[in-house]
């Protein structure tokens, strides 16, 4: 028995080393003086300076952030509606279709999503003149379409766990359905809404493939810029960028878990 658990522990430790070693090496070499990413040439922060002076990176980061914020917000609205409809509305015409459409984007390969949306936008432009050209708007629409599916999954499981008699009680006490939703449902599922927002935000910020298809001139997102740099070969400033992103994420996760633990203590 102790032998089995020891093996398990070792596998687990190796698993975490596997997960974190590449990330650690990114962080370490972001402080490397040398341009060679893998040879240590002394401590330096020059890649961070280079990064902050790179207008292309800063510009695309700004675009990505704007896209991600709008995407996350719209995805939470639409994804929550879809989840609510699927968990609370019982039977209606088109229910099976809605279920399929709201889960299929989860496993749809990015290349297909990207290609199909681009072709849609091109056809729509021919037919009705909108969207005129492609750029941030088309990226946002594409991102919302697959992000809302993730939000729907997260919110749906929370809604399913929620005691439905809470909503019935509010209605029984005289609240109309819209009031019930905002007074009772939203506060109770708030953690799932926050989680869904963060998930959609991350997915949008992270997406390369879909954005590459549906973007237009002048709207390069951060992943697109990173990808073109990485494809060309070694670029230590990307290490610096990665380190900054990791730091922000780690801080965010730390704050979130601290908040959650506090909330759990105080209820």
């Amino acid at each position: 028995m102790p032998r089995a658990s020891t093996i398990l522990l070792v596998v687990c430790i190796l698993g975490f080393v596997f997960l974190y070693a590449p990330i650690l090496s990114l962080i370490i070499f972001s402080f490397n003086e040398s341009k060679l990413v893998t040879v240590w040439g002394g401590f330096s922060t020059k890649w961070y300076r280079a990064l902050l002076e790179d207008p292309q990176i800063l510009g695309s980061a700004w675009i990505s952030l704007k896209v991600a914020v709008v995407t996350a917000t719209l995805s939470v609205v639409l994804g929550t509606l879809a989840a609510y409809v699927l968990t609370r509305f019982g039977r209606f015409r088109g229910r099976a279709l809605l279920t399929g459409m709201s889960t299929a984007p989860l496993v749809m390969p990015d290349v297909i999503t990207g290609l199909s949306l681009l072709l849609l936008f091109v056809s729509m432009e021919q037919l009705i003149g909108w969207p005129a050209g492609r750029g941030m708007t088309t990226i946002i629409i594409a991102h919302v379409t697959f992000c809302m599916a993730y939000v729907a999954v997260v919110v749906q499981s929370r809604l399913a766990d929620m005691d439905e008699s809470l909503e019935e009680a509010a209605m029984d006490l005289g609240a109309r359905p819209v009031r019930v939703f905002f007074d009772v449902t939203v506060p109770v599922i708030a953690p799932a809404l926050v989680a869904g927002w963060l998930l959609a935000f991350t997915l949008s910020l992270d997406d390369l493939v879909v954005a590459s298809f549906v973007t237009g001139p002048g709207a390069s997102t951060l992943p697109m810029v990173i990808f073109s740099k990485v494809r060309l070969g070694v670029s230590p400033d990307i290490n610096a960028l990665a380190t900054i992103i990791i730091a922000i994420v780690a801080l965010g996760v730390f704050i979130a878990s601290w908040q959650m633990r506090r909330a759990a203590r105080h209820g």
Partner: protein, 312 residues
């Protein structure tokens, strides 16, 4: 919010359409996500299907229309040549087969790596569980592209691994790891590991400890308990995790592009090149349609597994 509705024509149209149809209350709540997904998820596939049946042309957009109006009647020109082309050129068939193989092997490896970790976390004391789980999810929140990029630095001939092995004297010349299928497997296992661990963990943590105790009490050794009790009960988690790795990996583009070599054939990459390099939109569409057909079966399996998990 209202400003946003004005700014984004699809939302504006939706609102106008709903008003026109006289829909209120419940119907509106259903219609909003329904119409969005219909227009931006389902209709695009019809457009792809349509374009896959047209011919490439030097035009903007670069394909011929299916439907032409010669003044008297509509002429429909359907061109199945793109699909015939997929079967004629072994490149496409090979790419499909190789994508399925790479995705399958990677998913199996991910399962073997992920199961013990998920099991360990699920059997940990409650406080440690959430910390370990956070550690598993944390890399997922950082950029996917950058994590793949990190492996480039690890695997290249003057990368971290080779430098270490040379320094330790285990090898005397660098191993070629980058731009091989090995690197692609590694990349997929690495980036998709959380998708395997999470459903497995969600399943294993619900496993009633008294079942394991009952098995032990009835004389089952740990191995027997595992194979007769734990594993069968965790099958829905295994299937869900496996499919969550297998299905998206089939269409993977970034990993073969950055870690694989020129010989690493994967269908997502073929589609990308067909579209961006050859600018052959009809063939790219045909590739996408063929890919969808292949994906239908595993997606069905996944949905069944999820439905079963929800029931229990």
């Amino acid at each position: 919010m209202s400003g946003l509705i004005e700014r984004l024509p699809p939302l504006r149209w939706t609102a106008a359409l709903l008003r026109r149809l006289g829909l209120r209350g419940r119907s509106v709540v259903i219609a909003v996500p329904f119409l969005w997904l219909l227009v931006f998820f389902l209709v695009p596939f019809l457009v792809v299907a349509k374009i896959s049946l047209s011919e490439a042309a030097i035009a903007r957009p670069p394909f011929t229309p299916l439907l032409e109006w010669d003044g008297l009647r509509a002429i429909v020109t359907l061109n199945f040549g793109n699909f015939a082309f997929l079967f004629d050129d072994p490149l496409y068939l090979n790419a499909y087969v190789s994508s399925l193989r790479i995705a399958f092997v990677s998913a199996v490896i991910t399962l073997f790596v992920g199961y013990p970790i998920a099991y360990y976390i699920a059997r940990s004391p409650e406080g440690r569980r959430s910390i370990l789980l956070t550690l598993v999810i944390l890399p997922f929140w950082t950029s996917f592209l950058l994590r793949v990029y990190a492996w480039q630095g690890f695997l290249r001939s003057n990368g971290v691994i080779n430098n270490f092995l040379l320094w330790a004297g285990i090898i005397d010349q660098p191993l070629v790891m980058l731009q091989t299928n090995f690197a692609v497997y590694l990349g997929i296992v690495y980036t998709y590991l959380p998708f395997m661990i999470l459903p497995l963990y969600a399943n294993l943590v619900k496993l009633d400890e008294s079942l394991l105790e009952a098995s032990a009490d009835l004389g089952g050794r740990p191995a027997a308990t595992f194979f007769h009790v734990t594993l069968p009960l965790s099958m829905p988690g295994v299937i869900a995790g496996f499919m969550l790795v297998f299905v998206p990996a089939i269409g993977e583009f970034v990993i073969p592009e950055l870690l694989g070599g020129p010989n690493t054939l994967m269908i997502g990459r073929v589609l990308w090149n067909e579209f961006f390099s050859n600018r052959d939109w009809p063939v790219a569409s045909a590739v996408a349609i063929a890919m969808l057909v292949i994906l239908v079966v595993p997606i069905m399996i996944l949905r069944n597994a999820q439905a079963k998990t929800e029931e229990s």
